[in-house]
C-alpha cells in the first residue's frame, strides 16, 4: 500500500496533522520541496508523480531483533530491498536514519551490510540510532560508517542542488530523556549553513525526531529548537527522522518534519502502554506497518513529494 503527499507552500498550512503509516519512504525533490512516495505505488508504474525520486529513506532495520513482533527482520529488509529494486526509476541515493542494528553487535552490522549491498542504489548515507552505539563512541558503528565524518557522526554533502545534512542526536542524552545534539554539533551546523543561499533546498536527517512528539518516551530532541532556528530562513527544508517506527508529520513554516516507518517492527502510538517497545500485531497485518519513504524535490515551483510505501 502506498500513499503520496505533495507538500506545496499552499498546502502546508493544512498539513499540521498526524499521519500514520507503515514501511518505507521514497523522497522526491520537485521544485525545492520534498515529497515521500508510497513505494508500492512507485513500483507499480502507476505513479503520476513527475520526475525521478531523488532519494530513498530506510529506517530502523534493527538487524538482530528476533522477538515475536517480527522474528525475521532480515526477511522484511530483504523484501523492502526487492521492492526498491523493482522500481522503474530508482533514486540515486539511499539514506538510513539509524537503528541499523538492534544490539550494536559486529555480526548484526555484517548482516545489515550484506543485505543493503543488495540495493541497486549504491550510494548510502547513514546516521546512527541509539541501538547502533550502545558500545560507545568509536566502536562498531564508527568503524564502518565513521569515515564520512572523521568519527564525529555528523556531516553534510550536496547532491543535485540539494544540501544534505546528517546529524546525530543519540549520543548526548540529557536528564530529561530526550535526544540532544550538543554544543559542538550545533556550532558546526550553524557554520555549515552560514553562507548558503536561502533558495538551496535543505534535507536534514537524524535518528530521533527533531520535534517533541512525546516527551515521557523521549520522542524528541532537547536542543532541536536551536538547530531549527538555523534552518528557518531557507525556502525548503525537509527534516527526516526514524526512531518511533511509525509516520508522524508536521509542517512548520517552510520546514516539513517527517518520521519514517521501520522495516522491522511497529511500535505503539505515543503513550499507549508501558514504553516504546516492539508492538506485536497479527502476522497478516505486519507488512502493512513496515515500509520506506521516497522523496522527490522539484525546484520550480518549489515542492517536495514524500511517498510512504508499505510492504503489504
Amino acid at each position: 500500500m502506498s500513499s503520496d503527499s505533495e507538500i506545496t507552500p499552499s498546502r502546508r498550512g493544512a498539513l499540521k496533522c498526524l499521519a500514520f503509516g507503515g514501511a518505507g519512504t521514497l523522497f522526491a525533490l520537485t521544485g525545492g520541496i520534498l515529497a515521500p512516495i508510497d513505494l508500492a505505488l512507485a513500483a507499480s508504474k502507476k505513479s503520476a508523480l513527475a520526475g525521478t525520486p531523488l532519494f530513498l529513506q530506510i529506517s530502523d532495520t534493527h538487524i538482530g531483533f528476533n522477538k515475536d513482533a517480527n522474528p525475521d527482520v532480515a526477511g522484511t529488509l530483504k523484501q523492502t530491498i526487492d521492492f526498491v529494486n523493482a522500481m522503474p526509476t530508482k533514486p540515486a541515493l539511499t539514506i538510513h536514519t539509524g537503528d541499523i542494528t538492534h544490539l550494536s553487535k559486529p555480526d548484526e552490522f555484517d548482516t545489515a551490510s550484506q543485505l543493503l549491498a543488495g540495493l541497486d542504489i549504491t550510494e548510502l548515507h547513514t546516521v546512527p540510532g541509539e541501538h547502533d552505539v550502545t558500545d560507545g563512541i568509536g566502536t562498531e558503528y564508527f568503524n564502518r560508517f565513521g569515515q564520512a565524518s572523521a568519527n564525529k557522526g555528523y556531516y553534510s554533502f550536496d547532491h543535485n542542488g540539494v544540501h544534505f545534512i546528517a546529524l546525530v542526536n543519540v549520543m548526548n542524552f540529557k536528564p530529561n530523556g530526550l535526544g540532544a545534539f550538543g554544543d559542538d554539533q550545533l556550532a558546526w551546523l550553524e557554520q555549515d549553513l552560514k553562507n548558503r543561499s536561502a533558495s538551496t533546498p535543505i534535507v536534514v536527517f537524524a535518528h530521533m525526531p527533531m520535534w517533541t512528539i512525546y516527551e515521557p518516551w523521549g520522542w524528541g530532541t532537547g536542543d532541536a529548537d536551536q538547530a531549527t532556528s538555523y534552518l528557518r530562513r531557507f525556502g525548503s527544508v525537509t527534516v527526516l527522522n526514524g526512531h518511533i517506527h511509525q509516520i508522524v508529520q508536521k509542517v512548520e513554516g517552510n520546514i516539513t518534519f517527517h518520521t519514517a516507518r521501520s522495516t522491522a517492527y511497529p511500535q505503539p502510538t505515543a503513550g499507549d502502554g508501558p514504553g516504546p517497545g516492539p508492538l506485536k500485531v497479527p502476522s497478516d497485518q505486519l507488512a502493512r506497518m513496515l515500509g520506506i519513504t521516497s522523496i522527490k524535490i522539484s525546484a520550480h515551483p518549489s515542492s517536495a513529494v514524500l511517498t510512504d510505501t508499505t510492504l503489504g
Binding site: T126, D135, R144, D158, P175
Partner: protein, 116 residues
C-alpha cells in the same frame, strides 16, 4: 536527470571488515554469588531505582524486558553495552560515592548506586 555529484562512496563502508574483538560486556556473569545486590530492568524502569552497597561490592543488573536496555554511567565509569532480554551485567564498585546511570537506549530510565 540526476547528476551524480558525490565525493564519498559510503558503500565502501559496507565492505565486510574483519572484526578484531567481540568483547561485549553483556552477559559477563561474574560475581554470581552476589545476587543480593541485584537490579532489574522491567517495564522501562530500573528496580530498585536506588541501591546501597558497601565499597568493594558488585551490583548485577538483569534485563527482563523484551526491549534491550543498557547500564551506562553518567560519568563514563561503566557501560554495559546492549543487554537483550535476560542478559546480565555486573560491575564492582571500589570507592564510596553516588553513581548515577541511565539506559542509553531509553534515557528517561535513570537510577543510582550508592556506595558506602
Amino acid at each position: 536527470m540526476l547528476t551524480k555529484n558525490f565525493g564519498r562512496k559510503f558503500i565502501d563502508a559496507f565492505a565486510v571488515t574483519a572484526m578484531l574483538a567481540v568483547a561485549s560486556a553483556a552477559g559477563t556473569g561474574a560475581a554470581q554469588g552476589q545476587q543480593a545486590n541485584a537490579v532489574v530492568m522491567k517495564n522501562f524502569d530500573f528496580a530498585p531505582m536506588s541501591i546501597t552497597v558497601k565499597a568493594g561490592a558488585s551490583v548485577t543488573w538483569k534485563n527482563l524486558d523484551g526491549e534491550p536496555h543498557t547500564v551506562t554511567s553518567v560519568d563514563g565509569l561503566f557501560r554495559s553495552g546492549a543487554l537483550d532480554q535476560n542478559d546480565t551485567y555486573t560491575f564492582k564498585f571500589d570507592k564510596p560515592g553516588t553513581y548515577k546511570y541511565l539506559c542509553s537506549i531509553h534515557p528517561r530510565m535513570m537510577a543510582s548506586v550508592i556506595v558506602q
